[in-house]
Symmetry: D2
Subunit: 478 residues, 4 copies
């Protein structure tokens, strides 16, 4: 394994991918079993990042960290967890983005500073990290990762504030973007969300110990009680005496609707709402907006399941499992030398001929990104004898890249940014195609547009994106 | 990793587990890409065995084999496949049975013999292997594995028959049990099923090359066309000129119904029937036999999905995804030091509170083995606010162990072998409990009892089980 | 790592290398710490085989084995040794022969038989293994390795003799060659040497427990007392009550002189003689046979050290360390893309310019095999400023292959089998070249030719080599 | 493997070991094969550090690094070297110090800075690193390693100087200690030695490409020509146009004599002198200072070899190889559960009884550190029948710790810092004991005391050691 390769360009950043990781974070304070519970918390958050996993603990004055490429259950064994003593822990899982996988970018990142050792776990993206980094480098700072998170610790270390909480508040006023972070220090664990609350972060209690996680499904596994979300613009210190928060910034709250559309687990409550319920509502609304004459409603598993159920209930068309998903898909897969059509999709999905043959189906998925996968699924279903395919998408056309931490392709690659709905339908080969409208989605979600980040659907960004980021993405040149 | 540990007792067998593996097998002849296609075939059969994977190829006069503990996608990479040249390949995946995991037992097994090198991949179990092995050992045979498959190759090697096909026929007349096997030799690939056809084995064609697999889902991935099943008691030789079969024994056909209840993939056609269709039929019949006053039908994912759909459709009660499954469960999982209730189940399943809270649900699963998992699921659902739980099982009570290759606990551990339905209901804590009747199951399956192996439900074994095997299982002493 | 690759040709043997391994073996009975002591014993015998290491123990009726490619210290850790309980152990290290490295050929080999489990560790070579194997395969035997050792266990398993000792005696009367073996069985550990006693095997005692090893240096490390050699043609059973031997065959004793020339460790006593003393005597005799006008005697380290000391003492020319050896040479070494002259030798040896510059040196090595290494050393020394190089070899010209277990090239590749001494001198580029005479070597060794195996120098084999083996070697065709 | 564990205390340093590593460094510029040649260079320097190995290359604007725990030949394979394209490379091997082995401390270390990426490889120790680090942390610097080398890159990054060379000069004026360093930057490779030239660093040329290495033995392997040493206080830039140097500081030159006594390879020329010649001269002088009535001169291999030869020649007593060294000693070794006397030494060394039995010997070693190893060797030799043991040490008593990069125990542990020669003799059990005098050593070395760092023998440090370092060592309290 290539465990110690780090690639640093002269401007210290990689153009592709580096700034676009979705992640999951977890923390626990004042617990006898901190590393072990953090391991379980990360395990429940595995869907938020399969590339690497790491845990840092505080034991006396020592911060230890173990992190590696791979799944949580593969990275950690008992021997490794036993090397993480201490009553406070933070953990991190990172999403796999092709080509930019370095151990050096695995988190938590840990540094020795004038304030003692600091560890940080970060979910989201800072839109002005490049600019701050340049400024810091000019004044002599050394960077070890290509991750935007590193700037936060530099700012904390350089702050003249009297304590970590104040230094962190200062640092967070400097950075902009959508993020949730955890910082482990000699002064305790701190949790914070960006002023717009774009990324989720929830607080809970487990046998008296305060816990914090990207999603509530982590609380279910460890039998913690959900308490409340960290507020947008809030810094919270976790301790057994109770969490204590302070507001470092105030802005209008715009939580990311894509967490509900696709990213979060259906059994989580995110931004105060059940994800499963949102998806069923999207599907039901979709059935009203784009009805179809069909025999069956078939989800693309697993992401389209709840929306398909919602569609089926609202439309009265029977729900059917016409596609089976193979859950053993590994990290790498060897392609046959001889061509197999739609190979990439076949490895994951297979039609159940007996269920779909001769049928007219409504095929429900959560989104269409490049369109190539949908195209392969449509062909595969036709080859299995499906008579008509009415593709229904439980969100609006994806038009713009996310700059707040979800790994989306550039606009150039987004089919909906470059084609009409009819062109897309032709491309994927469906008999009809219907997207949920933005209004429909927001209504089902229960928040108005100005109180939601729906930038990937609307191109309207609640936190301004610097010109240079847009250029890198190719969004400006268009 | 424990790659070269082999444990051999003085009688050469391990009492526990050794004889009870369910597996998947795949073969291809006359193909340029044999190892690569075998890899894909095994990948599609991964659900039949997650413990080890192996492929053997024939290249000129050389048989090569690569096998290791682990998933297909982890065991094989391009470098390893490139060490397997040749136009004929057989492959094997083996089920994980706690404690008896040795590389030595991974397949294909390969030996040099007077007939040249022979490789064997085997799915099923021989009930008289112990007796034959004793006989062979007395006459000077050396054994290297604790697997029952090894006796077949000894018998082939010792036969005086003029060719491998005839020697194999002779050997298979000697052994008894439920099995499908593939043999790779200098004379080609041979595929055979036991005279009762208990385990499945299907033939197909891929770009002119004959292929053979435990289930048809393997054909879908590699884009092969299904041709026919290997017949019970038939030996088939695979070649581009066409498969040629011969009958080595004739008996009444009794295919294993448990393949349809639980084991096979829903998108496979097994014994000429769609597995998904069987399961929906079981669920529908179950709804008629055991109706319930409820708000939702909730499957235990993934095994209860199709039966729950069948139940929902037949009953008119809405289908709902009230339990979410975490698909990242690794091979080993570290338990927290502090007690977490129902931990084992929580790692895999989590209720979706918003879906089930306050509801009366029909909970559908394919079977109840020891009862402990069902008990934990019931409790977990109650804690999530479910009002009533009506457990429905889409097969009859599991009363007896399988001796034909599916790893089931001994009778002592089977809750239905030792308790009434009412006692089981109380144990698991459901409000009501209903099992599909044997008659109902067979009707839905479309075969009479005498033409089906339903031994795990009825205790009636189509192939007689020697006294010593029953004693080992503890079935006699009861 | 390629842990489970086995390659079996249709005649079950590999032509090259398979029959030519030098190895080290070790055994201990009736010891609380058997696996641990075996590990230390093998560690001291590491020079006899660096390819693979393995230990088998007997615990009750169970034989366990752990073996893997690599050095003893890398293969075994505490966890692995703890998987080897039991009071009796045998161990094996195997020499690396290019291309024929399989885990399947690592020893001890273990089989289940009608006599219970049997494990075997073997040093040497059976000249009629191919013939016996063919016979056994014809009668239905299955072979799993390409090693000649496997036939011995087949013969033991097939024998009708009442106990393992008698069956082993029967088997050893059937095989021919030069070998020492250890067999672990339910009836204890047995040690045996071939009737001519070609390979060494010594008995000792450690705190009351009997031990057996290829060389006495293993006894030094574990603080065992040397007792006696296993006699040629003797089978010994190890037990705390004392070793009990029986003679299964009687022949004239012809121990391998090459053990003293090169193979054994200088601190071992082999065949009742100190290896260091033999080498010094060879060097002294060489000085008398081939004096030289020179300033320094320089050994090729490490093999030429003692002979060079003997030469220096006898001649009165000062001994000097003019070549330094790098002991970190790994298993694989990456060649530079750009040519570096004499690269292979440079990785291991470097001249000490300050010591040799401007000097006339006597360069002492134990043997010249292909001549290419000597040629590179001579050039390297000339480039370091040596004025004259008088190469002296402390054994006669190597003319013939070993068929009793030392990996030597075929005659075709042996420079001395195809060239005169003067031709060799010209090839390697020395100013003069002198080999020890056969008579001189034997006198220094203290045994007459008829009581020594010096086949590699004389081409006279004490145990007849079958025609087909000589053909494989190409010795006949010449 | 524990690849990503880093332990950082709140002051960012570990008390034990962290500041005391001896290492080897290598660099090459303007070469097509840079990584490959660096690999070979490090391989030749392996004796200077067996804990970890790493190489960084510059390719366009990208610096890549590969590093890992282990031997050079184990860390690098072809795949890994192929991930290091570029025409400039620096490499590093690090010495193993018990307990403080972290991948995080492996070098080269690499950072992104305002001057572009910088990589550093360092041999030696900075005595004021702790103080500078504290200062830097106070002003907001983040540290990732516990190595003192990191401060240099911080100082370079923070310098306002116009180019890397000037910034490096500025940084090196700030730090104090004994060191040689290599810096890889967009402006080329820079090599520097501390103003006193305590650690070695040599320049050479290989097919027109400039190379730099800790010792000249690295040049021999890659067939480079030695040009000159980097001067004390000089910074050199390597380029095909020729190396260009500048003096950043001037001080009296005090090269480390311990490189000649023990550390460097005998085939290297260090500080303009042959190491082998120095050692022979030490041995000869020792024979004059401490003659002995004896039959043999026996070296402790391998470190005492050349000194023993010098002693033998001067005294006329025959040189003999009475101790054999086992070169297969691995990184970890499993101790037997039962006690074996002098175990640690036995694993490495074994007496050759036949050579030493009944003899009076002069036993020559390069130094005595704690005395425990010498004591075990003496006992082992007595048990092998040696009649008299006259221990002779080819350097003066080791009295003080090294603070310039050689890992020595604290004074408390140095037997010569706490005992008279007679007490040491009694402790090790020799019949007589003689150390080379400081004057004798210096005379043989050919430099006066004021032009040599002999601090470990004299306690006089050419570069002042801060109070806090001495306190940590326990030197002050005594």
């Amino acid at each position: 394994m290539n465990v110690s390769r780090e690639a640093l360009t002269s401007d210290g950043m990689e153009t592709r991918g580096g700034f676009r990781d979705e992640c999951g974070i977890f923390g626990i304070a004042d617990s006898e079993d901190a590393a072990n519970i953090a391991y379980l918390g990360l395990y429940a958050l595995q869907h938020r990042g399969q590339e690497s996993a790491g845990i840092a603990t505080l034991d006396g004055e020592l911060v230890r960290v173990e992190r590696e490429m791979g799944y949580v259950a593969d990275v950690f064994d008992e021997a490794r967890l036993s090397r993480l003593p201490g009553r406070a822990a933070i953990g991190h899982v990172r999403y796999s983005t092709a080509g930019a996988s370095h151990l050096a970018n695995a988190q938590p990142i840990v540094f020795a500073t004038g304030r003692g050792p600091l560890a940080l776990a970060h979910n989201g993206n800072l839109v002005n990290a490049r600019e701050i980094r340049r400024r810091l480098e000019q004044s002599g700072a050394l960077f070890t990762t290509t991750s935007d998170s590193e700037v936060i610790l530099h700012l904390v270390a350089r702050s003249k504030a009297p304590d970590v909480a104040s230094a962190l508040a200062e640092a967070l006023l400097d950075v902009q973007g959508g993020y949730s972070i955890l910082v482990l220090s000699l002064e305790g664990i701190f949790a914070a969300r960006d002023p717009h609350g774009i990324r989720p972060l929830s607080l809970g209690t487990r046998e008296g110990s305060p816990v914090v996680a990207s999603e509530t499904c982590a609380f279910d596994l460890i039998e913690a009680r959900f308490e409340r979300d960290v507020e947008p613009g809030e810094i919270v210190r976790l301790s057994r005496a109770g969490v204590t928060g302070r507001r470092f910034a105030i802005a209008n709250s715009t939580p990311c609707i894509f967490e509900h559309v696709y990213f979060a687990r259906p059994d989580s409550t995110v931004f105060g709402k059940s994800v499963a319920a949102s998806r069923e509502a999207f599907g039901a609304r979709l059935a009203r907006e784009h009805p179809a004459e069909a025999d069956l409603v078939v989800p693309v598993p697993d992401s389209g399941m709840y929306a398909a159920l919602g569609y089926a209930r609202e439309s009265g068309i029977p729900f059917a499992l016409g596609l089976v998903r193979n859950h053993y898909v590994g990290r790498t897969f060897i392609e046959p030398k001889q061509a197999i059509r739609h190979f990439g999709v076949k490895v994951k999905l297979n039609p159940v001929r007996d269920v779909v043959e001769g049928k007219r189906i409504v095929l429900v998925d959560d989104s269409i990104v490049r369109g190539t996968t949908s195209k392969k699924i449509v062909r595969m279903l036709r080859e299995a004898g499906v008579r008509e395919i009415h593709m229904r998408v439980s969100s609006p056309p994806t038009m713009a890249s996310c700059h707040y931490g979800i790994d989306t392709p550039t606009r150039r690659e987004l089919i909906a940014a470059n084609s009409s709905v009819e062109e897309i339908r032709q491309f994927i080969g469906a008999d009809s195609l219907g997207y949920l409208s933005t209004e429909g989605m927001l209504e089902a979600f229960g928040r108005p547009l100005q109180a939601t980040c729906a930038a990937c659907f609307t191109g309207v960004y609640p936190v301004e994106i610097p010109e240079e980021e847009l250029e890198k993405e190719g969004a400006v040149a268009r």
